[in-house]
Amino acid sequence: MKKIAQLGLICLLFITACNNNVETANTAVAEAAPQAGQSAVKDDESMKDVVKVAVGSKDHSTLVAAVQQAGLVDVLSNAGPFTVFAPTNDAFNKLPAGTVDGLMKPESKEALTNILQYHVTTSSLKTDYFQDGQTLGMVNGDNITINIKDGKIILNNSAIIVASVPASNGIVHVIDGVLLPPTKK
C-alpha cells in the first residue's frame, strides 16, 4: 500500500511540475497588463468629473497639486458622488506663510489628506439643499457647519461659497477660504 502512495506522490510531483510552468507563463502575461484607475478612462462625451472640473480651473492649481500629492485623484474620479468645497488659490494664500509648502512635503501627507478629505462629502448637494445651522459629515469623519446669512452660504464661519459647478460625479462649490479640521483631542 505504501508503494502505491509513493507512486502517487511521484505522479503528483510530475503534475505539479507541469502545472508550475503554465502558471509562470500566465503570471508573466498578467504582469504586463497596465492597471490604471478611473482617472485614466478616455471619455469625451460625459460631463467632466470633479477632478477634471478643478483641473480645468486656473484658480485651483494649488488644490489640484494638493489632491495629486495626497493621491486622491482616482478616488475623486470614482462614482462618489462628491460635493467638493474647492478653495481657490487665493484662499490657500490666506493661510500663514509656509503652510502650503509644509503640507506639500512627503512627511505631511497624512495631514494634507486629512485637510482635503475635510472638504469632501459623499453626496451631491446643490446649494438648494443647504439650510441654516445644518451640519454635514465630511469624508475625514469630522463635520462642518453651514450658515446662511444675507443669501450667502458660509461654512464653519470661515469660507463662503462663491460659485458652483456641476460635475459628472457630483458638484464643486468654489470657496474663498480653506476649511481646517478640528484638532484631535
Partner: protein
Amino acid sequence: MKRFFIPVIAGCLLTLAIGCKPGGAKTAVTGDAAEKAYVAPGKYDEFYNFVSGGFSGQMSVYGLPSGRLFRVIPVFSVDPEKGYGYSEESKPMLNTSKGFIPWDDLHHPALSTTDGVHDGRWAFGNANNTPRIARIDLKTFRTAEIIEIPNSGGNHSSPFITENTEYVVAGTRFSVPPDYSNGDVAINTYKDNFRGTVSFIGVNKASGDMNIAFQILLPGVNFDLSRAGKGKSHGWFFFSCYNSERANTLLEVNSTQKDKDFILCVNWKKAEEYAKAGKGKKVAVNYAHNKYDEKKHAATSVMEKEVLVLDPKELPDMVYFMPCPKSPHGCDTDPSGEYIVGSGKLAAVIPVFSFTKIQQAIANKTYDGDYDGIPVLKYDAVLHGEVQKPGLGPLHTEFDANGNAYTSFFVSSEVVKWNVKELKVLDRVPTYYSVGHLCVPGGPTKKPWGKYMIAYNKITKDRYLPTGPELAQSAQLYDISGDKMKLILDFPTIGEPHYAEAIPAELLSKNSQKIYKIEENMHPYAAKGEKEAKVERKGNEVHVYMTSIRSHFVPDNIEGIKVGDQVYFHVTNLEQDWDVPHGFAVKGANNAELLIMPGETQTLLWKPEKAGVYPMYCTDFCSALHQEMQGYVRVSPAGSNVPITFSTGKTAAAASDKPSEKPSR
C-alpha cells in the same frame, strides 16, 4: 495488491502523456491554450462575438478570445432586469399582429456590411416562432426596430443580408396557407394550399429603417438557411430547402425520401426590377412594425396592411432550383462569391456549386425539368465538385481568408477544415458535443478576419460541472492561425446558441455611445432637472415626473395616491456620466424594475391595491450612499381626500408648516 498498482501506474503515465506533452494532432488541448485565450485584467478583447440566444429570445455579446460575457441584449423576449417589455416605452417593441408576445426564439445574428465587409452599424436577428426581424443598433447595443413578416410560418431562413445591406431576407421554414388566403383548410391538402415565401426587407442606408420590399411566392417546401451572393455573385441569393416531398407529417421519414432537395437561387436584382416596375400583386395582410425613438426614449408600433407579392409563374427569370443532396441545412457562399456550399444533413458528400456554372446553365437552359413551374438546373452542370466522405451530418460552413472552409458535423461531433477549390480535407477536430453552427470572425463576408473559429455546442455532459438535468450550452474556441485547428477554450453561453458572428473590437468600441444627452431628451414626461419634478393627477391616472441622481430621487415622499389609481413613474436619470444607470422599483409592482440610462426617461406603471405606505428605491448600485437612495409613497383608500403632495429633503417641521403643492427643489 498487485492489481491496484497497474491502474495507478497507467493513470500516472496517462497524466504525463496528456498533461505535459505538447499537443499532437490527437491531443484535444495544447499546452499554450491558456495563454492564447487569456486576456489580462485591464486588457480589451480582440473581437466582439454576437451570439444568438435561441430559445432565450435574446442576443448575447462576448469577448474573444477570453469568452467573457459583456451583455445580454433583450430582443424578442422580455427582460425584467432591464425593464424591456415591462416599461411603458418598450412594450410596443413586442407588439405583433397576434398582440403582445413576450418571447421568441432567436437563431441567427447578421452584422451589417458595406461592399461585403463588416461596417459595424447594425446587428439583425430573426424570430423563428412568430416571424419577425429585429435590428439592433451597435452604438447602443439596444433593439431599435422589429418588423413582423406576414405570409410566413416560422422565420428560420433569416436574417441574412446582401453585400451592402440593401436587403435582409426572411425565408419561411414552415410553408403555410398565405395570410391573405383562407387558412381554414385540411392539413392533408398541403400540396394544394400551402405555400412558401422568401421576403426581401429593404434597409434604409442612412437610418437602417426596414420595410418589406417584396415577397416571392414559392412552392410549399421548407426554407432552411440562406446566404447572399457577393463579389461576382452580388445580386443573387441562395436558400437551402428541404421537404421537396411536401410532407405534412412525420417529416423525419417523409421528407427524406428523395436523394436530392434544393437550393433556391434568387436573382434579386431581377425581382427588384419587377417590384420597381409595378409588377406583382399587392395583397392585404396585417403585420406590426415597431420602432424605438432614441430622442423620445420610447417605441411606437404601427400595423401595416399590405405587402407586394411576386409570383415566379408570372414573372420569369427570377428563381431557379438547384438540386442538393439530402435535406440541405447550411447554404454558404465563400468570400469570393464563386462557390456555394450546401450541407445535406443526411448527405455523405459536401457539394460545392459554382456561380459561373450556374450562370452558364441558366444561359443555356441546362435544365432537369421543373419543380412546380420553376426550372431545375442540372446538378452536374452547376457542380464545382464534392468533398467525399467529409464526416457525418454536415450542417454549416464558415470560411477563412486563405481559401479554406470549416464545416460542422452534428452526427460525428467534429469540425472539418477543407480547401474549397481543391475539395480536400486538411484537418479535423472533435467538438464536445453535438455541434451546430460555427463562427469565424468575418466568415460570411468578403474579408474574413480569421484567427479563431468558434463551435457552438448543444451538449456539455462531461465538460462543465453538473447542474441537474440540464447543463450550460457551450462555445468552443479554436485557434485556426496555423495549419491545424487547436482547441483553446470552452465557455458557457446563455440560452441555446445557434449562429454567431464576430467583428474586430475597434470597429464597434470607437462608436459606442456613452450617455444620452439630457438636453436632447424629448420624452413627453421627462423632468430635465429637479425643479421640473412634479406629481400630477388626471382622473385616476397619476403621473410622477421623477428625477434620479446620486443619491436621491425627486420627489422621494409622495402622498395623495389612492387605491384604484394608475400611477405612472416617469423616471429621468439626470446623470451625464458613462456607465451610471439608476434603477427604480416600488414594493408590490407586478411587472419589473426599470434601469434608466444617463439622460434617459423610462416609465413604470404601478397599480396599488391596498392602502398603506410603499417603499421605493434605486436598484442599481450607483454610489456610496446608494442604500440611502430611497423614498416612500403613501396610498390612501379610494375616495380619500388626502391631497397630492410631494417633496424631497423636507424635514417634519418644515413640512407641517405648509403642505406643498410644488416640488421643494
